[in-house]
């Protein structure tokens, strides 16, 4: 099997020449990777698929900007670069479709989920945890994803979402609380239905 770095590099070179075959191959190679990111930021599968495709179009349009000489691990470098494109696409989508991002509604976004005080997250699969994240409101979900999973700082999140750092921290705190409640609900249900 060929080195993924070499494979990526070959495909990137082809995509730089706007070659459809290389673009198609790269699309199929990275579709799962991009879909995994988009799925966490959206509530519906078709929405995630649309954002994934949009991310690829952006990737192909800007692929000449990718600088492969900066690092030896081209595969990781390219995936990290592409991840930024996908996340930005998701944030753009959030801006377009959720106007409450800019304003007080962002900070007051809350969900009426009962607090059970403790949870049994170890009983949940990865898919169920992700589903729990997806149940958060769009803004909480975005802040939680950016901070916890993408590893961004509050300053970066504030800059990306055009909100204050305080609002970012507040949203993260509320997102955690709500996520905890959602997970508790799920574990309680599982404990109830499982033998």
């Amino acid at each position: 099997m060929s080195d993924p770095g070499v494979q990526i590099l070959t495909l990137v070179e082809g995509c730089c020449k706007n070659d459809r075959n290389n673009q198609r191959e790269l699309y199929h190679l990275l579709f799962g990777y991009a879909m995994k990111i988009c799925y966490r930021y959206t509530s519906h599968q078709h929405e995630a698929e649309e954002l994934t495709n949009e991310s690829f179009v952006k990737l192909f349009k800007n692929i000449k900007l990718f600088d492969a000489s900066r690092q030896t691990n081209v595969d990781a470098l390219f995936k990290a670069w592409f991840k930024r494109i996908v996340i930005n696409t998701c944030i753009d989508h959030l801006r377009r479709n959720h106007s409450m991002l800019n304003g007080h509604s962002l900070t007051n976004d809350s969900e009426n989920i009962a607090d059970a005080g403790e949870t049994g997250i170890d009983r949940l699969s990865y898919e169920e945890i992700v589903e729990a994240i997806r149940q958060l409101s769009p803004v909480y979900k975005t802040v939680f994803n950016l901070f916890v999973i993408e590893g961004m700082t509050h300053e970066e999140i504030a800059s990306q979402l055009d909100i204050s750092v305080g609002a970012s921290k507040s949203n993260l705190s509320k997102a955690r609380n709500n996520l905890r409640k959602i997970i508790l609900h799920q574990t309680q249900y599982k404990a109830y239905v499982s033998p």
Binding site: H28, K36, C38, R96
Partner: protein
């Protein structure tokens, strides 16, 4: 069950995000459709456009070359025949189907009024009249072959030969005159007849020998023929030689005709000037990426003709060009990186001043083909742009009109090929497809605008000294 603190929640969420399997199926077709719009495959389209243009230009050039070659080789023969036919046809009773190769050049000599030619021809005709020998016929055939070959391909060949035979009827009395009391003719006639019978009994040869009597100048210059008749005996005995003599001047006749035609042409194709109005349609493109609306050209052109083939032309043409281009092809000096320019469509109005050299090919008909090449200057009057862009991912459209003028001296390479046809003594109509390729960026966006189209010109042309 245990309480879920922040760290655990974050860690488990990160692990889940890394290891879970997202549903969803790839749909490359959807992506490809968007890519075809936003990232069209430029190279193929550009090559296709260039390919069609090259085919178009190649067809024109090869057509013009064929026209040129065809016209110069056949024109003199046609002219000679056209002039000769009426005289001979009226002078005698034409019998179709009786064609004489040997007399063809002789007949052609009618058009040239050269005394020596006539004399020699008459000598031959007198000899041939009295001595239709096979030898002389063979010699005549051989000597006339080069001259005949040239005209044999043309349909005018039959017309060229027929009168020579028809003059035989008129020549007969003269032959009778010449032969009376001249035993030399008889002497000569006997071996010739024997030769004819033994050497060649075919109808072709005998027919030719009969026709040999019919050399037309005989009737015209009977008195001149007399000395030749006096020397009837040697002429008759050396019939092959006389036949050659007779044919030689005849064979040179087309050359003299050609020379006369050339002289006529050179006097006709003198210096001239022209002025005309032109108008047409224009299709402009930037790298063949998009189609756009059709623009127009309208203006005045003038020219100076050095001779029948070479001329120079210039003028002023007002043109409107519509186009659409990709954002990448628009090079604004005040570009803002926050804006992602996707497409630009618009138009420009400007004056175009071409300076063109033109070669017009000779032709046997009135319709002539020409090729032009040169440089054009643009003087921009107005530019209008519609920008489609994305600002932080949000699509937008904005329009802008620039009324400031700008000049682009000799920034366009201009090629055209066309045909022209006279519409009157001084009026000429021209149809001229053209291609204009950029040497420099045009307008505010420094766009590489290529233009293709067709112009129709009505031209008034006047020769100097007339």
């Amino acid at each position: 069950m245990y309480p879920l603190d922040e760290n655990d929640l974050d860690r488990l969420s990160a692990e889940a995000a890394e290891h879970y399997h997202a549903p969803g199926t790839p749909s490359w077709e959807a992506v490809e459709q968007v890519l075809d719009i936003e990232l069209p495959q430029k190279k193929d389209k550009r090559r296709r456009g260039l390919f069609f243009f090259l085919i178009f230009a190649g067809l024109f050039i090869s057509g013009a070359a064929w026209w040129n070659f065809h016209g110069t080789t056949t024109a003199p023969v046609t002219n000679t025949v056209a002039k000769n036919i009426p005289k001979d046809a009226n002078a005698s009773n034409a019998t179709p189907g009786n064609h004489n190769l040997a007399t063809a050049p002789v007949n052609a000599s009618n058009s040239t009024t050269n005394n020596t030619t006539i004399k020699t021809t008459n000598k031959t005709s007198a000899t041939a009249l009295s001595q239709p020998s096979a030898n002389s016929l063979i010699a005549a055939k051989q000597s006339t072959t080069p001259a005949i070959k040239r005209s044999a391909k043309t349909t005018s060949y039959h017309n060229l030969l027929t009168p020579s035979f028809t003059s035989a009827a008129g020549a007969e009395p003269l032959a009778g005159k010449g032969n009376t009391g001249k035993p030399s003719a008889k002497k000569a006639g006997q071996p010739v007849a024997a030769d004819a019978a033994t050497v060649n009994g075919s109808t072709d040869v005998t027919g030719t020998s009969n026709d040999q009597k019919t050399v037309p100048p005989v009737t015209a210059t009977t008195s001149v023929v007399a000395p030749a008749q006096d020397k009837g005996t040697p002429a008759a005995t050396d019939s092959a030689a006389t036949a050659k003599k007779a044919i030689t001047p005849a064979a040179t006749t087309p050359e003299t005709t050609k020379a006369a035609d050339k002289k006529k042409k050179s006097t006709a194709g003198g210096k001239a000037f022209d002025i005309g109005v032109t108008g047409g349609v224009d299709m402009s493109t930037v790298r063949f990426n998009y189609g756009a609306n059709v623009g127009y050209n309208i203006g005045i052109l003038g020219g100076y003709h050095f001779n029948k083939n070479w001329s120079v032309h210039t003028g002023a043409v007002y043109t409107k060009k519509d186009y659409k281009l990709e954002g990448d092809d628009y090079h604004s000096t005040i570009a803002n990186n926050s804006y992602n320019l996707e497409t630009v469509d618009g138009y420009c109005r400007m004056w175009e001043v071409p300076v063109l050299g033109r070669y017009t090919f000779n032709s046997r008909t009135n319709t002539r083909v020409f090729l032009s090449g040169g440089l054009s200057s643009y003087f921009m009057e107005q530019e209008h742009y519609n920008y489609s862009y994305k600002y932080n991912g949000t699509p937008g459209v904005r329009s802008w009109t620039n009324n400031s003028s700008s000049n682009y001296w000799f920034s366009i390479l201009d090629f055209s090929a066309g045909i022209e046809k006279p519409m009157g003594p001084h009026l000429i109509a021209q149809v001229e497809p053209y291609a204009r390729l950029p040497l420099a960026g045009l307008g505010f966006g420094k766009i590489q605008l290529s233009s293709f189209g067709v112009n129709v010109t009505l031209q008034y042309r006047k020769k100097f000294g007339k």
